[in-house]
Amino acid sequence: MPADQLSSTFHALADPTRRAILSSLTTGEKTVSDLAEPFDMSMPAITKHLKVLEKAKLIERSKQAQYRPCRLHPEPLKDIDEWMEQYRKFFEASFNRLDDYLKEIQTKKEE
């Protein structure tokens, strides 16, 4: 499983600013400056967060309009199945490591 994909939604949601941006977009399309307003942050800092959200496909940005307003694209969070899938991958990746780790510590003990 490619780590990038595993973690893109996870990573996008891990940050409080990005979660606040998503919440704020639930009320409709917004421009970058609208989104930046409640935060004490520069436009480039906000843009950086937007890029992470865009990459995780949680938001979309209009290509035509001059100000490229953002809107929510909630499909990756759509149903609990998707959410579960992220967890399944997380656990499975951990369990593969656990398997190796158990081998390692039990071999040491026997030596």
Partner: protein, 161 residues
């Protein structure tokens, strides 16, 4: 042996056999010293870990990804512990000061260790609570009349697999 996956309603059940006795399985789940070696994907290892392993105690941990800004804090609260059979805890998204993120759903995680031919069958049951914020985000998206998502969802699924 690979993990066997069962999904039902709001539960995700992962069953896997490990070549270790239940006592050792219990140990590697209940101490940072061990968890540091395996908790989290290889690319997102656990870099910080504080654990008060008792009923009502907490496990506060931090996973770090490949980029500097890839930081994810988790907070677990132990509800019930039966050595060496099972551990039941709530898992939340958090921050470095242990504040639980209210916008994200909490998960109840039950880990059971069952003796099985000299090895252990580990049964991990994660129960997802519904989450108002997430549902709200979803409902608003639909209300805005977004175009059919099936194509994008297909792409997304291809990508994450």
């Amino acid at each position: 042996m690979k993990t066997q996956v069962t999904k039902e309603d709001k539960k995700l059940i992962l069953t896997r056999e490990f070549d270790a006795p239940p006592e050792l399985m219990f140990k590697v789940w209940s101490d940072c010293k061990h968890l540091k070696h395996w908790w989290g994907p290889k690319e997102w290892p656990m870099k910080e870990c504080e654990m008060d392993f008792r009923e009502g105690g907490e496990w506060h941990y931090c996973l770090r990804g490949p980029k500097q800004e890839d930081v994810s804090w988790g907070l677990a609260k132990y509800k019930s512990i039966t050595k060496p059979k099972k551990i039941l805890y709530m898992d939340y998204f958090s921050d470095e000061d242990r504040n639980i993120n209210q916008e994200m759903p909490g998960m109840e995680i039950l880990v059971e260790f069952k003796p099985h031919n000299g090895k252990t069958l580990q049964v991990n049951t994660t129960t997802f609570s519904s989450n108002e914020e997430r549902d709200k985000i979803h409902d608003m998206g639909v209300a805005q009349g977004m175009e059919s998502s099936s194509l994008r969802l297909d792409e997304y699924l291809k990508e994450v697999q």
